[in-house]
């Protein structure tokens, strides 16, 4: 297929662009296979380059022969294009609609994008499972790296290498895989260095209505327990939902078969409900009415903050179990959504390494990308889309929101700033980089993403970008950080949800000023230190100056 077929009118002159809190720009609109470009051809006005894949939906209106297209983006921005000429406007609208919903992965922009920067470190190779395992080996020898999934047959959504208890062989793993939803047998997600406790994750057990059991499964998870110790299974579904799952072949770990484990049920919402919540929230945020009551009740009705609270609460619970000396297995149904929210947030709470920029990238790689969160399905549409939702759900966005809540409560404990989280959010929905393409490592391998596209991390891990994303207040904090989950402590994430509804100019200026102060402070401190050193040196060189 040629993109040109979809583009009847590739350029229109005299188009006016309206953006929130920015002056209007008049210029030439161009459509390419992947971008919508508006350029005024004047030196000092910024051009607009918008990825088609970032467009969630468009609306068109006509007044006489002047057409208007309202473009609603997945990053929640809304822009307006006034296009002279009805035919041109219709053509442009049709092209945008077609190009923004292309679902052939190999035609996506990351396959065409060539970096304009020097790649210092290839992000595709920065966080390989093998390297992560080497770190683990320095702490414990109770785990091994299994290649049982090297051809993605045992579990299509797992990576080729996974960490499992040393005593469990690959045959056992195959049997366990057939007992767990989607073949997602329990694997290591986190090892707590301080006390040797572990967190594992999996899919639900396929007990079905007649209470099928699987000795190998029991053996596997018991192998992670210290003698005489009990572990916790955190099921992200309510007990009712979990019981009902039996009718469809799923189920729960019964007390009889897993006597060493205590099951805790938590209600974390999933898929459809979350997507609807996002749609309602964004609608509330864009509401132009001036009524405070209306805003607060819409915010409440969206339930978004409730979801944030539930996820954080469950993550705190998992972290608490581990911190107090018990190992944990987390799963819900498929083990690819709420499970990952819980395991990754628990690590942010427990492990200071995850609060650095690089550690957070590694966490996203390990617990989301390699763990098989279906990004392609979940992030296909965002809050504005009119098309029928299929598998869309803002699971990852909720995770980022929760991280932001913790960051806000512990402003000095994270190496990265809010802008890093916003950046990761944007790229998870539309990107020139290949990182978030596909639903699993298997799909990524099939598409040869590491060879054919650039990784987001290649771009982020360069000094000039890192500088922009670093939290100036950061001071490494080796402690566990327990966020408050009281509803009064959780805020709406303005940086994402009100980003385009407010002028951030003043806030940005203040932030820059703060960064400037901190930089200058460091500079002066270095100067003082070097003067002190010089003084000390002079004192030792000149015995007369020495105090008796």
């Amino acid at each position: 297929m040629e993109f040109a077929e979809l583009i009847k009118t590739p350029r229109v002159d005299g188009v006016v662009l309206h953006r929130p809190f920015m002056p209007t720009v008049e210029g030439t609109l161009c459509l390419t296979g992947h971008h919508l470009i508006l350029s005024s051809r004047q030196d000092n006005t910024e051009e607009l380059w918008l990825l088609h894949s970032n467009i969630d939906c468009i609306e068109k209106r006509f007044v006489g022969s002047l057409g208007t297209i309202i473009v609603k983006c997945k990053d929640l921005r809304v822009i307006q294009l006034d296009i002279p000429g009805m035919e041109e406007c219709l053509n442009i609208a049709n092209s945008i609609e077609a190009l923004s919903t292309l679902d052939i992965l190999s035609l996506m922009y990351p396959f065409f994008y060539r970096p304009m920067f020097e790649v210092i470190e290839d992000g595709w190779k920065s966080f390989l499972p093998l390297d992560a395992f080497k770190d683990l080996e320095t702490m414990t020898d109770e785990w091994r790296l299994s290649e049982v999934n090297k051809d993605f047959i045992v579990c299509p959504s797992y990576p080729p290498l996974v960490a499992v208890p040393k005593d469990i062989d690959d045959d056992t793993l195959r049997k366990v895989a057939s007992f767990r939803h989607g073949g997602r047998f329990p694997v290591l997600s986190y090892y707590h260095k301080k006390n040797g406790m572990v967190m594992m994750r999996s899919g639900q057990p396929l007990t079905g209505t007649n209470g099928r059991r699987c000795k190998e499964d029991e053996k596997l998870i018991n192998a992670t327990l210290r003698p005489g110790k009990r572990g916790y299974i955190i099921d992200t579904r309510t007990i009712n939902v979990a019981q009902q799952a039996k009718a469809r072949g799923g189920g729960i770990e019964s007390e009889a078969n897993y006597p060493q484990w205590r099951r805790i049920h938590k209600a974390v919402e999933r898929s459809n409900v979350l997507q609807e919540s996002l749609i309602k929230l964004v609608e509330a945020c864009n509401d132009q009415s001036h009524s405070m009551d209306r805003w607060l009740s819409k915010l409440e009705a969206s339930n978004w903050q409730t979801h944030v609270k539930e996820i954080l609460t469950t993550a705190c619970l998992a972290a608490q179990c581990i911190d107090r000396g018990a190992s944990v297995l987390v799963h819900g149904t498929e083990g690819a959504d709420s499970t990952l929210q819980v395991t990754s947030l628990a690590q942010i709470i427990l492990d200071p390494a995850c609060r650095t920029i690089r550690g957070f990238q590694s966490l996203v790689e390990r617990e989301w990308l390699q763990a098989g969160h279906p990004f392609q399905q979940r992030c296909a549409q965002s809050a504005y889309s009119n098309s029928k939702p299929r598998q869309e759900a803002p699971v990852f966005l909720l995770f980022l929101d929760c991280v932001w809540q913790i960051l806000r409560q512990f402003p000095c404990s994270f190496e990265f700033s809010e802008s890093f989280l916003v950046l990761v959010f944007e790229h998870s929905y539309a990107s020139q980089f290949g990182t978030f393409l596909g639903n699993s490592t298997a799909e990524r391998a099939k598409l040869s993403l590491p060879e054919k596209t650039v990784s987001l991390w290649s771009w982020v891990n360069r000094p000039q970008e890192l500088e922009r994303l670093t939290n100036p207040l950061y001071e490494a904090n080796s402690l566990v950080i327990w966020p408050s989950v009281a509803p009064q402590s959780l805020l709406l994430w303005e940086g994402v949800f009100l980003r385009w509804n407010r002028s951030s100019k003043c806030l940005d200026e203040a932030y820059e000023e703060m960064v400037h102060i901190i930089e200058y402070n460091k500079e002066l401190q270095n100067k003082v230190n070097s003067l002190r050193r010089q003084l000390a040196q002079l004192e030792t060189e000149d015995p007369l100056l020495q105090t008796p």
Partner: protein, 558 residues
């Protein structure tokens, strides 16, 4: 009267104090005429809590016999070493402060506990003003002969040379007989003489005739404030009042009157002797009615909000609907948007404005103050802001004594309490949050003021107006808060390290999405707010360090 009459038990040993953000401590409790003092006697720590009794809004006591109190000790979260005393019983006093802190005291001995509770109840709401702590407070670093207050109307007038053409300083109220709630000097149009003012005063509620409160240098427009006209049911008019207002807009085509009541409320006010400026008598004035909540409704809103903030049910829906129900944020929104309207009339449309509601001592002051912050850069420095508060709240006669007698926890029947000043501070905080560089003071200042207005070592917020302060000898016998806040160490603490002067008006966004709960105040005693304070503190320290280093090392490039 002697305070000692109210103190039957002045000292109790072995009391356990629980307070937010601190581990529980065991020590000695003392009650004095003005303070509750707790000092920790445990090894390795020396915790001391000095609480002004005036700061206590309400107490709850529960006394239990030893037989039933065994559970109390195990619940207490203290070490099991908590000795169960054999003699008698014990009691618990929960203290709810006006700064929203909640403390709990476990006191051994039922009688001691009851005595302490009774003393606190009596001493925390003494009626006689001259017995309040400010009259006894004698800090070593200040003298009663120090300058009291930052400025006066006389000084303000003499500094504003632009005013002298068309405005004069009148001392018609020098003995407070024309308007008891006004200061001795006020600024009025030059063409109105004191006789006229006396007549106008009779036509305005409480004698609050229209006076100048702000002169906009850019275009010479002004903000006046007053109380409602006393037209009554038979639509009385007052030529002098009309002439005074005409003199205000002399030379321009029209002015605006912003009435902080709804049209209906204003019309109803006629039945009780009040009223509004009719179109026929005030033809060059256009009246805008903007309803603002006042009095009891505001106090109830505060009570509901604080209750919501203290809710421990851990339910997000409940929290958000309670927050909505309290209506506090709606009041913030209304205040800011009415102030925005006022500033728009003056700065953008170029017209003079008269502001009033009923009494002209609450919502009127609220929006005239906010409008000045929006338009006038000189109000946005630390000194400028305090001077503004002194002029527009203390001297302009906001009845602090009545409004701040009780706060959100009190069980006492509401009289004249209303958190108007707190609402102002909240609105200023919203401005501060939206324009982090434009204001020269910090959130810490707003928090300090919110505390001081309700209970203070200083005399600044004592009394309801200048007349009462004169009668009490506040100037001679107490110290001034505003002066204290400007001492070097305090100045460091209350300045905004990010401040950069801007000449521009700062127009706040009043979209509901842009306004936030003032967590620093309402959730001040929760740990997460504490972390944020620490981060602010960090930035502040850096700036101070920076200042020192820049002074001591080589001349720093800017």
């Amino acid at each position: 009267m002697e305070f000692s009459e109210y103190i039957k038990t002045a000292n109790v040993e072995d009391v356990v104090l629980r307070q937010p953000l601190h581990p529980p401590g065991r020590g000695t409790l003392c009650i004095t005429g003005h303070h509750l003092l707790f000092s920790d006697r445990e090894e390795g720590s020396c915790q001391q809590v000095l609480l002004l009794l005036r700061n206590i809004d309400a107490i709850e006591k529960s006394v239990e016999n030893l037989l039933t109190c065994s559970g109390l000790f195990s619940n207490a979260g203290l070490s099991q070493s908590g000795v169960c005393r054999l003699s008698g019983s014990s009691g618990t006093i929960t203290i709810k402060c006006k700064d929203l802190r909640v403390l709990q005291l476990d006191i051994p001995g039922m009688e001691e506990c009851l005595n302490i509770a009774r003393s606190i109840e009596t001493l925390s709401c003494l009626d006689s003003m001259s017995e309040l702590y400010p009259f006894f407070y004698r800090p070593s670093n200040a003298s009663l002969r120090d300058q009291w207050g930052l400025s006066s109307l006389e000084r303000h007038y003499s500094q504003m040379k632009e005013l002298h053409d068309r405005w004069r300083l009148s001392t018609v109220n020098r003995d407070f007989s024309v308007c008891p709630s006004y200061p001795q000097a006020v600024i009025v149009p030059k063409s109105t003489d004191d006789d006229m003012l006396e007549k106008v005063a009779k036509f305005r509620q409480g004698g609050r005739f229209p006076v100048l409160c702000y002169y906009h240098k850019k275009n010479g427009m002004v903000i006046m404030r007053s109380s409602q006209p006393l037209t009554g049911a038979n639509r009385k008019r007052c030529r002098e009042d009309e002439q005074l207002l005409q003199a205000v807009i002399d030379g321009s085509d029209k002015g605006y009157i912003i009435d902080t009541r709804s049209s209906q409320q204003a019309l109803q006010a006629r039945m009780t002797g009040g009223g509004l400026e009719s179109k026929s008598c005030y033809s060059s004035w256009k009246r805008l009615q903007r309803q603002m909540e006042r009095g009891k409704a505001l106090q109830e809103s505060l009570i509901k909000l604080v209750e919501a903030c203290e809710d421990e049910s851990n339910n997000m829906d409940r929290w958000l609907s309670k927050l909505e129900n309290s209506k506090w944020l709606s009041h913030v929104q209304t205040a800011l948007s009415t102030a925005g309207l006022l500033a728009e009339c003056v700065e953008r449309d170029g017209h003079s404005v008269l502001v009033h509601g009923s009494e002209g001592t609450d919502s009127t002051l609220l929006i005239s103050t906010l409008a000045q912050l929006i338009m006038d850069p000189s109000c946005r420095t630390l000194e400028g802001f305090l001077t503004l508060l002194e002029r527009e709240w203390v001297q302009a006669g906001h009845p602090f004594q009545q409004r701040c007698a009780h706060s959100a926890h009190s069980h006492a029947r509401l009289q004249q309490e209303s958190p108007v000043f707190l609402l102002l501070l909240d609105c200023v905080w919203q401005l501060w949050r939206q324009f982090p560089l434009a204001l020269g003071f910090s959130e810490a200042l707003l928090l300090r003021l919110a505390t001081e207005a309700y209970a203070s070592d200083y005399g600044t917020f004592l009394g309801n107006n200048q007349q009462e302060r004169c009668a009490l000898g506040v100037k001679e016998n107490t110290h001034c808060l505003f002066q204290a806040l400007l001492r070097p160490r305090e100045r460091d603490c209350y300045s905004n390290p990010l401040y950069e002067h801007t000449e521009l008006a700062i127009w706040p966004s009043v979209h509901p999405q842009s306004l936030q709960l003032w967590r620093g105040f309402f959730l001040r005693w929760t740990p997460q707010t504490h972390h944020l304070e620490e981060a602010q503190e960090e930035i502040r320290n850096m700036v101070i360090e920076w200042g020192k280093l820049a002074l001591s090392s080589c001349p720093a490039s800017t």
